[in-house]
């Protein structure tokens, strides 16, 4: 039996109302949230974002057509009514980015490149960077999917695939033990929490310089987070549905609540395709159609949900950018096993707050390579810039009032 965090079951910390707690409780100025939806395995943009029907050398789904709404166009098919429904409803809030290159062809590195712009492990991903310093209690809530950190590890809060975060918070983790463990009583936990917090404070006061100081400060911050989470236990609903097939929308609901409560700035959820079989279709390429249908059905539910949650008089959708990505695209041609292999060019879709919707930016040429783009106008051009995951990241950082660094953002999709 799953359950949320309850006052009865939760541990009671000892720091009192912390700085973090004050900020979160005060209902500070609403932030621009970012919700990453990650389609794991590599989607085929020609099934949804960019029609290449009739182009020699590019195998596309039979029976597919092109639909449009204003400047926005997408690939339509009778098997994917949810895609049409989604764009019909939300197209004016959507920007599709086509021809973006993620400069690797392995899942692991593409994921890192897509989400950090770098291939090495020394970078924080866009979500962690946007969440860091946001003064939120659970800055980057990872319901599922990848999260890469270097300096901002403390920003990431994982729910765990089986809802382990809630178990750890409310003590039900002890019931998952063959040793007959039990949670101590509230009074004991209060005494223990207060003692431990004071001890860490004394330790931090005498910590050396450099890494030791960073580590000690990180420990103090974690204690403050825990204390505030404990204090707010009645307000939090971090429970996730487990067992059987869990939809993307169900999986991300705790994050929406956290957005609503001003507790998180970023969240990540992974979509593993219909029935969680993954998007990596080296064989059976038409499974892409089913995956897109499932993804967009969930995205529709997600946006409906965001649009009906109001904070300070504005819908959560008006305060949240939904970033829908996959780590790679798929080759133009079908391989010998009826699938398509890895391709460095892919698409991304941004929806919601801060997005200049109703348009497609960038393009694939007839070799399925990305075309250059004028970053300001979004027009393709021989003299345009190559769209990379770094450009996407710079755009998100700029949207979120973070320094995009040396990379110019794609201002054409920024409202």
């Amino acid at each position: 039996m799953r359950r949320g965090v309850s006052r009865r079951g939760v541990l009671v910390g000892g720091l009192g109302t912390s700085l973090l707690g004050q900020l979160a409780l005060a209902g500070e100025t609403r932030r621009h949230n970012f919700l990453f939806v990650f389609a794991a395995g590599g989607w085929d943009p020609t099934y949804c974002f960019a029609s290449k029907a009739g182009v020699s050398g590019i195998d596309t789904q039979s029976g597919a057509g092109v639909s449009s709404s204003g400047e926005l166009s997408w690939v339509s098919h009778d098997d994917r009514p949810s895609v049409d429904d989604f764009f019909a409803t939300w197209g004016d809030r959507c920007a599709i980015v086509n021809g973006m290159e993620v400069r690797s062809i392995t899942h692991e590195r593409c994921r890192r490149l897509l989400l950090t712009g770098r291939v090495d492990s020394g970078a924080d991903d866009w979500g962690a960077t946007l969440a860091h310093g946001s003064d939120t209690l659970l800055p980057y809530l990872v319901a599922s999917g990848p999260a890469f950190t270097s300096q901002y590890t403390a920003s990431v809060v994982r729910l765990g695939p089986a809802g382990q975060l809630v178990e750890l918070l409310d003590g039900s983790c002890f019931s998952r033990s063959d040793a007959g463990l039990v949670a101590p009583g509230a009074t004991v936990q209060e005494l223990e929490g207060a003692f431990a917090a004071a001890r860490v404070e004394r330790f931090a006061a005498t910590a050396g310089a450099g890494f030791e100081r960073r580590w000690a400060e990180g420990y103090q911050q974690a204690i403050e987070q825990l204390d505030t989470v404990t204090t707010r236990a009645d307000d939090l609903d971090l429970e996730i549905q487990t067992g059987g097939y869990v939809t993307l929308h169900a999986r991300i609901k705790p994050a929406l609540t956290c957005f609503e409560e001003g507790l998180s700035r970023c969240a990540m959820v992974q979509h593993d395709g219909l029935w969680d079989v993954g998007w990596d279709t080296h064989s059976g390429i038409d499974a892409q159609s089913e995956h897109f249908e499932d993804l967009f059905q969930n995205l529709g539910d997600l946006l409906d949900d965001l649009d009906t949650r109001f904070v300070d008089g504005a819908s959560l959708l008006d305060q949240t950018t939904v970033v829908v990505v996959s780590e790679m695209g798929r080759t133009p041609g079908i391989n010998g096993t009826g699938g398509k292999d890895h391709w460095t060019y892919t698409s991304a879709m941004l929806v919601g707050a801060g997005v200049a919707g109703g348009r497609v930016v960038g393009a694939f040429d007839d070799d399925l390579l990305g075309e250059g783009v004028d970053l300001a106008s979004g027009e393709t051009s021989d003299k345009g810039r190559a769209l990379t995951s770094g450009v996407l990241g710079a755009t998100l950082l700029a949207m979120g009032d973070r320094d995009p660094g040396d990379t110019d953002p794609l201002t054409a999709i920024m409202a």
Partner: protein, 529 residues
């Protein structure tokens, strides 16, 4: 820099050439990564804390009280104990833990599932770990027996437990646990390169033709990572179909930059190539009849960076004789034990480790060299912050360090809860899941703290019954010494006794002991080393 001296606080300071050296005993010197003229201060760990670090790193458990007492009285005994720890019965288990952080084979999912082996649900975790640990256990065996480290890619046997012996074509020597074993499917001997466990994790697809595996081999054995090189198809010719792609890989300079060496490596692995990577029967067995298939499918001859190879067995020998293997061995263990990524500024030090390794040939020589290094023995480097002076405890170390002391093994329905991500707390506790998290967490976070706290409670209530009737103050001081390798001062001890008494008043003696242990386990001196 030209020398070293002691600062007023006793720390070691590198001096500029024109400065006279003072007391030079026990000094350490290191280069600043950014400014070679700036002195870098390395503060050495106390002998007991150093012993604790070595003990945790080499055998995964805390030093005994007598050992702490001994090095406190005579710090030179640290090296004596280090030698003992290198040959400790728990060395092998800890070695596997460390290798997990590098090899990423102990994942929670493979392309096939335990149900396909008709195993019970309660066997899932054991099935997963048996597979993932196979190559790691073989390496640990070679390390523990002081065999040449190059054996990891040349021996004609593996290690298997009863699980692997029951699901794979393996003949295993009698005995409990992991035993020397041999595959019976005709595969050649190539150490871990001939283990199912390695290739279950690093799988390939029909179209990929073992290239991903070859890249993994290069990263793990040579520390040369093809995947770090950017791949842009904008720079490539038309890759419209499979045929055009395969042609480009053999003719286009952009592609050849990697594929001229990668593909000949991949061709040597075709005994493990599967016609369907989701079919357990395809995956379980080696296919001798496919050994030459790679050359045909890829139109390339098997070779090791230009040196022709006849197959997998020769591949292992080629890896072993490559100079980069020794460099990589030194680099790997420096990173695992320094807890950071090495870079060019470390090169001369890494070279020293490499030479120590080459002089001996065993991996213990590298472990000895790294644990001798100034950085390893440092508590910090001042404001520079390059040295990880406090290593954050991992879920694996939480388990092993206190499991023996407390008797606690947090298992549930066949799962080790500190060593899985599906139901347990490995990833949330800062560990490596091998897929989306590939380096251990180095600084605290909310979920890490939660795992530490819950683990602390679990340890506390497990140990508490054995402490009934102990003299409180004396026992708490002893526990603090054992757990932290730091003598608790009177003020802290007063506070701890106060907590004990408060909890006892509110509850009972056993709960008081449990709570006291919990706070000792949560203490910064316990959760870092």
């Amino acid at each position: 820099m030209a020398g070293y001296g002691r600062a007023s606080d006793g720390a070691c300071v590198a001096l500029a050439a024109d400065e006279p050296p003072g007391d030079t005993s026990g000094m350490v010197e290191t280069a600043s990564p950014n400014d070679t003229d700036a002195p870098v201060v390395l503060t050495p760990l106390s002998a007991p804390r150093l012993l604790r670090r070595i003990s945790l790193d080499l055998r995964g458990v805390l030093p005994e009280l007598a050992e702490l007492d001994a090095v406190e009285a005579d710090p030179s005994l640290v090296d004596t104990y280090r030698e003992q720890y290198l040959y400790d019965a728990r060395f092998s288990e800890r070695f596997v833990q460390l290798l997990e952080e590098r090899f990423h084979t102990t994942v929670d999912e493979y392309l096939v599932f335990y149900e396909e082996y008709r195993l019970d649900d309660t066997d899932e975790y054991r099935w997963e770990r048996s597979i993932g640990e196979e190559p790691l256990r073989l390496m640990a065996w070679i390390a523990d027996n002081d065999l040449p480290w190059t054996d990891i890619v040349t021996v004609d046997y593996t290690l298997a437990d009863d699980m692997l012996a029951s699901i794979w074509p393996i003949e295993r020597e009698d005995g409990e646990g992991w035993q020397v074993a041999r595959y019976t499917d005709g595969r050649p001997g190539a150490g871990i390169l001939a283990t199912n466990g390695l290739w279950f994790r690093y799988y390939t697809t029909v179209a990929n033709k073992n290239r991903a595996r070859a890249a993994a081999l290069s990263r793990l054995m040579l520390c040369e990572d093809y995947l770090n090189r950017p791949v842009s198809f904008a720079s490539a010719p038309s890759l419209a179909d499979e045929g055009a792609t395969e042609e480009a890989l053999k003719t286009d300079p952009y592609c050849l930059g990697c594929h001229s060496s990668l593909d000949p490596l991949a061709a040597t692995l075709f005994g493990f190539w599967t016609a369907n990577e989701y079919n357990r029967h395809e995956l379980d067995s080696y296919h001798p009849e496919r050994e030459l298939l790679g050359e045909e499918l890829m139109d390339v001859e098997m070779s090791w960076y230009g040196e022709p190879l006849a197959g997998l067995q020769e591949l292992g020998a080629a890896v072993a004789s490559d100079e980069r293997f020794a460099w990589c061995t030194a680099e790997t263990w420096a990173e695992l034990l320094w807890r950071r990524t090495v870079d060019n500024d470390d090169w001369s030090t890494i070279d020293g480790f490499r030479q120590d390794y080459l002089a001996d040939g065993t991996v213990r020589a590298v472990l000895r060299a790294v644990t001798d290094s100034e950085e390893y023995r440092a508590a910090g480097d001042g404001e520079v912050g390059r040295v990880i002076g406090r290593r954050q405890i991992t879920p694996a170390l939480m388990s092993s360090s206190l499991g023996e002391l407390s008797g606690l093994a947090w298992t549930w329905d066949g799962y080790d809860q500190m060593d899985n991500d599906s139901w347990g707390y490995r990833q949330l506790g800062g560990g490596v899941d091998g897929v989306s998290v590939t380096t251990v967490q180095s600084t605290p976070s909310l979920t890490w703290l939660l795992v530490v706290r819950r683990w602390g409670f679990a340890v506390g209530q497990t140990m508490a019954p054995d402490l009934s009737g102990e003299e409180v103050r004396t026992k708490l001081a002893e526990l603090a010494w054992r757990l932290h390798a730091v003598r608790i001062d009177d003020e802290e001890l007063d506070r701890l006794v106060g907590l004990f008494e408060a909890v006892e008043a509110a509850s009972d003696e056993a709960t008081a002991w449990g709570t006291a242990i919990t706070v000792l386990v949560r203490d910064p001196e316990f959760v870092s080393y």
